[in-house]
Each structure stands twice: as C-alpha cells, then as structure tokens.
Symmetry: D2
Subunit: 134 residues, 4 copies
C-alpha cells in the first residue's frame, strides 16, 4: 500500500484574502489541487500529460475542516497522503500547517479516474500504479 | 425548529469552467455562499450589515458530493435548508439541480457566529433568531 | 453601425472582496465577461452554442480604469457598448455605476473571432452580424 | 531613477484554465499582483506589513495585451519594471514569457499610495523610496 507523504510549501496570495481578513474558504480546494499536481510530478507523472492521454481525474467529493484561518502572505505547509489503494477512485487526505507548526486545516477528497472519451469511470491506469509503487 | 427551504437560481459563468469543460469544483463553495447571503436577505437580514455590526459568519466546515458536473451557461437551482437550531453554529444543507431536475450536487456546511472584535465564537444573536422565526 | 447600449445589473459577491474591503480588481474582467454573455443572449446569441459551433471569442486586450471601488453586496449597473463594426475583432466599452449613479469603472476590450479548429482569427461570422443588425 | 528589472517564475494552475483550454484572462491581474508582492519582498518590503502600517496600494488602472495564450502547467517568466519615479502613483510594466522565450503578454498598471485611515492618496512613503534606492 502506498504510504508516502508529500509536502508542498506555498504562500497565501492577496487575491485569496476576503474582507474578514482571512483566506476565503473557496481557495482551499485549489490549494489541495495544486498540491496533488505537484505530488503527481514528484512521482513522475504530469497531470497535463495524463489529460492529453485521455485520463481525467475530476474531484467527486471534498470535505474540509477549517480549524484556524490563514491570512495573506502566510507561509503554508501542505501535507498530502494517498489513503488506501486506488481503484476507480483515489482518496487523498490533506493537512495544512502554519509556520508555528499548528494544524489549521484538514481535508479529504475522492477523485475518480475518468476516460476522457467515454467520460465514464475506469480503473486506475497502469502508469499510475507503477508511479505509486516506484 | 426552522424548516423553510430557500431556493435560488443562477447561471454558471464562463470563468467558472475549466479545461475539462466542467465547472471547477472550487466554485461550489461560492455558490453555497451567495445562496446563503440571498437566503439571509429573504429572512430580512443583510450579511453586509451583520458584519458592520460585528457579527461574522466564517465557514468552519464544508463537505460536498459532486454527483454530476455542471457546465458553462447551465441554469442551476440551489435549494438551501437550515439543519437544526442555531447555537454558536449554524448548519446548512444544499442541493443543486440542473434544468432536467436532476440532483447534481449535495453539500453541508457549518458556520460559526464570531464576534468581530474578539474573533471568538458567540451564541447566535437575537436578531438572527428572530429573523428565523418570523 | 451597431449602437445599442446593453444594461446588466448584478450584485458584488462576498468572495470578490479582499482584505482592503474592496472588490479585488481581478474580478472586473469577469464582470465584463458575463455582461458580454448576457448582451449576446439579448441579441439572440448563446455564447455556449457559438463555442460548440467552433466560434471562439478570446479576449485579446483589456484596459480598465478603477475610479472608485465597489464593496461586497453593492448593486452594480454595467453598461456595455459595441464600438464600431466587428471585423476579425469586436471592441466593447464598459461603464460600471453604483446605486448613486456614480461612474466607478470604465473599461475597453478587444476580442477576436477565432476558428475553434484552426485556432486562427477569422472574420466576424454572418450569424453574429445578423444578430447585431436585427 | 529606479531601473532594475525583477523576474519571477511560476506555473499555471489547473483552476486558472477555462473550457477554451487557455488561462482565463481574469487570472493575469493576479499574476501581476503576486509578481509585485515578490518584487517588493526582493527590495526588502513586505506588502502585508505595509498594509498593517496603513499604507494601501490599490490598483487604479490596468491594461493588458494578450498576444498568445498560456495553458495549464505552463512555466511562465514574469518580468516587472517600475516605470519612472513614484509620486502619489507607482507605475509598473510587465512582460510574460513562455519557456520558448516568446513574449506572450504585456501589461501596465498604475497603483496609488493610499492612507489606510483617510483612504486618500498620499505621496510615496519614505520607506518605499529608500527600498527602491537601496
């Protein structure tokens, strides 16, 4: 079973702040997304290439707990894990930490492997499994 | 117990599409948000005014199931319910339907009543309870 | 020459605010966009359908003057005009007014008619000219 | 006169793509923004701190020429210059290049130095001029 944790650092952008002075909660979905894309790159896969090869990975469910807000210019550490073995789905969990190492956000997503032509679910492709087990 | 359902119609904007041709999933959080704000207006409350009065309502948790995608220019029907009685929290559930009346998305959020000065949780304010029971 | 002015009303969304308390300037491009799309609908054209027919209308240039900020929940009146006759380009100008009828923002865009297959510029299609002159 | 060019590299995010397969044009304003913020950091200034000190820098005008589109996952090189000496305004110009070193986008912005309390224009603050001349 794939267990490695991937860590990605980024900084909160101004446009992501709202008038409460917090990161608007709609931005977290994109944080998880670019974390996943960099995780893929780290195991040797380009999501851009996957899509060109007809492998889409839409998000099927997302749940997020916002424990503490982030603010503009905060440095964020995103930790991503793959939960269990991919089937037609792949599950990820996410933790966001601030610079004081406080856990501020947790999340889980389920993505589906979708055939770009038929737009139907398909099993996790070989190249994906190989990359996970490399 | 507050039981009324609020219905809000909107159309998917171009900027919300992604290269898969679907609405990018990060937009749903904002759909739920402007639905809540129009629901508030429908019970006689302005969220803009609430914030000026020092009552903030940040989102503390959000979970979403994406059953079927929406696409640019789709007409969407958003149905919002308040789940249970507000405490220091207020819980909402959401359903998004397409024009064929197919349920495409379901979601739940928990928001907290936060004092704008202390930035701490507080009980649901009177004006809010009154609006709900009106 | 096409001269009609199209007027579109909308309200500023919470997510569009930033920590300055203003509408973040990146949102105006999307305001102009959904104004254009509703203008198209008003002359009998669906941009969604145009794209399916292989007619793309990417924005080639955009200039905006931000004279006064908008804020969350503001009601905005957007006035759009087509400037001159469409060629391979179509030029629009935009004015945004607040509820006190103060002109807060002006903008101009140039869009290009692009063939969806070749991805090259093409002349303004007949159905478009007919819609303008209807 | 301040002449240095600041260079910032970033990658296009998935959420920034639209159904044309291009970066949606509304994202460029945010590209210029985080470029400016990193430029400020490079001359020793934190925009987050400036705002806390009551110095706001809203965008007053923005014009952009989109010569060639960017796509998801593209690596982008952003070059920023300060144009002329800051007064109550500061002017920037921007160039975006792809990995083949092709100039894809050019832009200009005017920002105003605004007093956070009075919300009125003020002269470019000393700490800002010093940072520029360091």
């Amino acid at each position: 079973m794939y267990k490695k944790k991937f860590i990605y650092h980024f900084r909160v952008r101004y446009v992501e702040s709202d008038q409460m002075g917090f990161v608007h909660h709609s931005n977290y979905a994109t944080y998880f997304e670019f974390g996943r894309i960099e995780w893929l790159r780290s195991v040797g896969l380009s999501y851009a290439t996957l899509e060109k090869q007809g492998i889409l990975l839409p998000v099927l469910s997302l749940s997020t707990e916002f424990k503490r807000p982030f603010h503009f210019d905060d440095e964020v550490r995103l930790e991503i894990c793959v939960d269990g073995d991919p089937t037609v789905f792949i599950d990820f969990s996410y933790e966001l930490y601030n610079v004081e190492n406080v856990l501020c956000t947790t999340a889980k997503t389920r993505l589906g492997f979708v055939d770009g032509k038929t737009r139907k679910l398909m099993r996790c492709p070989e190249i994906f499994m190989e990359a996970l087990n490399r």
